[in-house]
Amino acid sequence: MAALLGRSCRRFGFLSSGHGARSVSTETGKSLNLYSAINQALHIALDSDPRSYVFGEDVGFGGVFRCTTGLAERFGKNRVFNTPLCEQGIVGFGIGLAAMGNRAIVEIQFADYIYPAFDQIVNEAAKFRYRSGNQFNCGGLTIRAPYGAVGHGGHYHSQSPEAFFCHVPGIKVVIPRSPREAKGLLLSSIRDPNPVVFFEPKWLYRQAVEEVPEHDYMIPLSEAEVIREGNDITLVGWGAQLTIMEQACLDAEKEGISCELIDLKTLLPWDKETVEASVKKTGRLLISHEAPITGGFGAEISATILERCFLKLEAPVSRVCGLDTPFPLVFEPFYMPTKNKILDAIKSTVNY
């Protein structure tokens, strides 16, 4: 049972954004965890725009993950309020608010619950600007949802639905990997003139602690970041999975394999150029995500890179992902793309 409870490989050394060569990463700030960073971002967003609103289930008292603490007290219950339990209604309501020029920051309690709202997101939010001929748009809509495995979540508290949304032209999908990134990316998402689905890795809400600058800053969307430079193989990932990949990179380094690690950050539209340049340098690509492998976003990356870098590839593109089963309860350690699985894949790709 201890093996099931201990995702110990994730407990230490999560991947901070200090790795990247970005100006914001050299600033110091307060040491915050992920939910506090997101909380700060929300405070700033509501402060800077009087017509922004935060709503969702249980956000009033701070939310089940404490991301919205203090907002209701500071900005009032007219701007930060609880909704009844109806995801479809909540997101549709958000679309309406956004269409009238407001910023609606919707919280879906778990990404697993986003499916009733899928219709509204795909059929309404994504197509609003398009079908009204730019008369209306719901760019002010940002949907935040905690996603991903958490060790004990089971079928309905651990899913990673990003692939479904990456298939929808008209919305953006953003996934941060750490507190500092999350704050910047969330503020960018909120202020982006397109509807954004923002997935937060729930595993990192308390686990990830990092120095986060206290001022208002934004990290641009659709720009991937090379977190770690290397020459032998390119690894691409997002969210909490990067922590695992970083550990696999460290282990691979001991065996003489130099790995380049890229954080995609924005999945839709994704930064093809950065990944392409990296693969042209290394000649090998490995993609890893928690979602099931078939039809996962790794497939899109693989297909695109194959088109662009076919002659430079030394080995087939490798995908180390969750298995094609519903997210299991007791079998989570076997299901997940663990460090060992990634390490094995790195080695077999390099030795192809």
Binding site: K77, P84, L85, C86, D324, F334, D344, A345, S348
Partner: protein
């Protein structure tokens, strides 16, 4: 008819904290003389013209249905239950309570994990309804489903093993706390997602109606769908009320209104908090009952189940109840007013039934104590059994995704794919 359970008067003393600050939303208004909670209502469906009028008087005399039932029983002291029934009810509620308390202990000791939602305080609803059902009747529940499964007949061992994630659990350890299924007992599952079970229950009810009316089988099975107050704001609920009334399905929708959806008060989330009223809007009777009183619940349930068995269609029953613990074992339960908790704690259904049985000389203290002891032993034994059971084999991970395991879980060499030593690679060959 004097019973130990007079309808309680729980009025607007319920905390409405948000009413001042919530300027955008209108303040909650309860009818001035209403005892919003704690009254039983008549189930006899009035003509459609009267459907839209709420009954004006809440303090109506004892329900007609109850008196008819009592007449059937022909007991001289006009009690609601016999001794045997009383003991069955008592045992079931004690089982529910002890089991849940043991779950909490096991959780804090690390034997079970994940999200566990306990049913303490709501036992009267489960016992009141499910003890009237036969084995072939179906029950659909929510994530708070341990006690529904137990009442339906799933053994405590199977439920406890499932919670521990062992292969002897009712779902072979794959579902966990929120997904208790049992084909044998027709427990169509706990559902982690609110409202998802209601359409499933509606379909199951259609199936029994079809078997009876089209296939002419002797099928009187009903389906009972349990769900909470938060679910009543969800679209699926209304869609199913409509379908059930339209097709006149043998289904009973039971709302376990415990006033809280994690941290959201029902009164602040619902435009009209009286859920039973939504039944007549769709063409079925809506009944409100005191869910802390197992005998009242049972009387209402009896009528609703009989209606469904006679082919008269669905019923919506709103049970006012309360959960004594937090939403889940991870919930610190800070938001609920201590006075509210105390008020409901004083109406503990088990204590009330015990008092009724003893005062009406249906059972002696010693008999009840021996039941409690028996249940304690049963639950302890269930824990031991669960502890001793093996964990599922790794190959079970890939089973049951599709009907045909060879389509996925078994490799071309005939062995399960995960027994393949290359399993750890986890690359695209699965």
């Amino acid at each position: 008819m004097a019973t130990a359970f007079a309808p309680t008067k729980l009025t607007a003393t319920l905390p409405l904290h948000g009413s001042q600050e919530n300027r955008l939303l209108p303040p909650i208004r309860l009818a001035p003389h209403s005892s919003f909670l704690g009254s039983t209502r008549s189930l006899t469906l009035p003509s459609s013209r009267r459907l839209n009028h709420a009954h004006a008087s809440r303090r109506s005399p004892p329900v007609v249905a109850v008196q008819e039932v009592v007449k059937e029983k022909k007991s001289t002291n006009s009690l609601l239950i016999t001794k045997e029934e009383g003991l069955v009810l008592y045992e079931d509620m004690i089982l529910g309570r002890s089991f849940e308390d043991m779950c909490a202990q096991m959780y804090y000791r690390g034997k079970m994990f994940g999200f566990v939602h306990l049913y303490n305080g709501q036992e009267a609803v489960s016992t009141g309804f499910i003890k009237l059902l036969t084995k072939s009747d179906s029950v659909v529940s929510t994530y708070r489903d341990h006690v529904h499964a137990l009442s339906k007949g799933v053994s405590a061992r199977a439920v406890m093993s499932e919670l521990f994630g062992k292969v002897t659990g009712c779902c072979r350890g794959q579902g966990g706390s929120m997904h208790m299924f049992s084909k044998e007992h027709n427990m169509l599952g706990g559902f982690a997602f609110i409202g998802e079970g209601i359409p499933v229950a509606t379909g199951a009810a259609f199936s029994s109606k079809y078997r009876r009316e089209v296939l002419k089988q002797n099928c009187e099975d009903v389906t009972v769908a349990f769900f909470g107050d938060g679910t009543c704001n969800n679209g699926q609920f209304y869609e199913c009320l409509n379908m059930a009334a339209l097709y006149k399905l043998p289904i009973i929708f039971v709302v376990e209104n415990n006033l809280w959806a994690i941290g959201m008060s029902h009164l602040r989330a619902t435009s009209d908090p009286e859920i039973w009223k939504k039944g007549p809007a769709f063409g079925m009777p809506g009944v409100h009952v005191d869910g802390m009183d197992v005998l009242k619940v049972r009387e209402v349930a009896k009528e609703a189940v009989t209606r469904a068995r006679r082919g008269e269609g669905p019923t919506l029953v709103e049970c006012e109840t309360y959960r004594f613990r937090g939403h889940s074992l991870a919930d610190p339960d800070e938001l609920r007013d201590a006075a509210e908790k105390a008020k409901y704690a004083a109406r503990d259904p088990i204590v009330a039934l015990k008092k009724y049985l003893i005062e009406n000389k249906l059972a002696k203290e010693a008999e009840l104590k021996s039941i409690e002891k028996k249940i304690d032993e049963l639950v302890e034994e269930a824990v031991e059994f669960a502890d001793a059971s093996p964990q599922p084999g790794r190959s079970q991970l890939l089973e049951n995704v599709f009907a045909d395991p060879k389509g996925f879980g078994i490799g071309p060499d005939g062995r399960y794919r995960c027994e393949d030593p290359k399993f750890t690679e986890g690359t695209a060959q699965v």
